[in-house]
């Protein structure tokens, strides 16, 4: 089973609204990363949050991490049409042979 699971699978909002997507994971991690993928392109790293951090900001992005609930959220404020993309969380785990695992992603559509 996958370590990271994003929720919702798809999200459609109007330009200017905020978008929130969530990621849940199963085992202990040392960091969690969010990536964006525009249609037909490679993934681009957005933000990394370490297990000892609770919140992190980068421009219009706000990421939270709750290790007790094994969950993270990505908030995009004042969304733009250019934010339309798929968003993936990836978890870095301790002491596993294959310890960097991506979730299936959330597809965000921002309507003008």
């Amino acid at each position: 089973s996958q370590q990271g699971e994003e929720d919702p699978q798809a999200l459609s909002i109007q330009e200017g609204e905020n978008a929130t997507m969530n990621c849940s994971y199963k085992t202990s991690i040392n960091n969690l990363q969010w990536y964006r993928q525009n249609s037909g392109r490679g993934l681009v790293h957005l933000i990394l949050i370490r297990s000892n951090e609770r919140e992190k900001h980068s421009g219009r992005l706000r990421v939270t991490l709750d290790t007790s609930k094994k969950s993270s959220s990505l908030l995009i404020t004042a969304s733009r049409a250019a934010d339309t993309a798929s968003y993936f969380c990836a978890t870095s785990r301790f002491n596993y042979g294959q310890n960097f695992v991506f979730g299936p992603g959330t597809r965000l559509s921002v309507l003008p």
């Binding site: 990836a90 870095s92 310890n99």
Partner: protein, 117 residues
């Protein structure tokens, strides 16, 4: 800097044919990775390399081989392609893991879309 590049961008194979996908990075990264992406599945790790001359299996290694003869290049080979290998393949690279085993930011190539008939 070009970052991570992949060749080819598209390829169509017949069942049983072989091919090699090339990944190159100019960031002097130690770690390199090959993923496949299928609809609704996210990315799954095929093989990875922690340095020149070393490779290791990921989550879905069967049917693929890799080589890392030079630090900047990571090759993915399909010896006998099967329709189940139809996918989009991404290469990525990163600095080596941290002291606590944490993975750093990965830099991705643009992908190779492979169709096996």
């Amino acid at each position: 800097n070009a970052g991570v590049t992949q060749t080819p961008k598209f390829r169509v194979l017949k069942t049983g044919q072989s091919m090699t996908l090339l990944c190159a990075q100019d960031m002097n990264h130690e770690y390199m990775y090959w993923y496949r992406q299928d609809p609704g599945m996210g990315l799954r790790l095929i093989h990875y390399s922690v340095g020149e001359g070393t490779t290791a299996k990921g989550e879905v290694p069967d049917g693929y081989n890799v080589s890392r003869l030079k630090k900047q290049n990571f090759l993915l080979g399909l010896e006998s392609a099967a329709p189940s290998q139809t996918s989009v393949y991404f290469c990525a690279s990163s600095y080596s893991i941290g002291l606590a085993g944490e993975y750093n930011e990965q830099f991705f190539g643009p992908g190779t879309r492979l169709t096996v008939l």
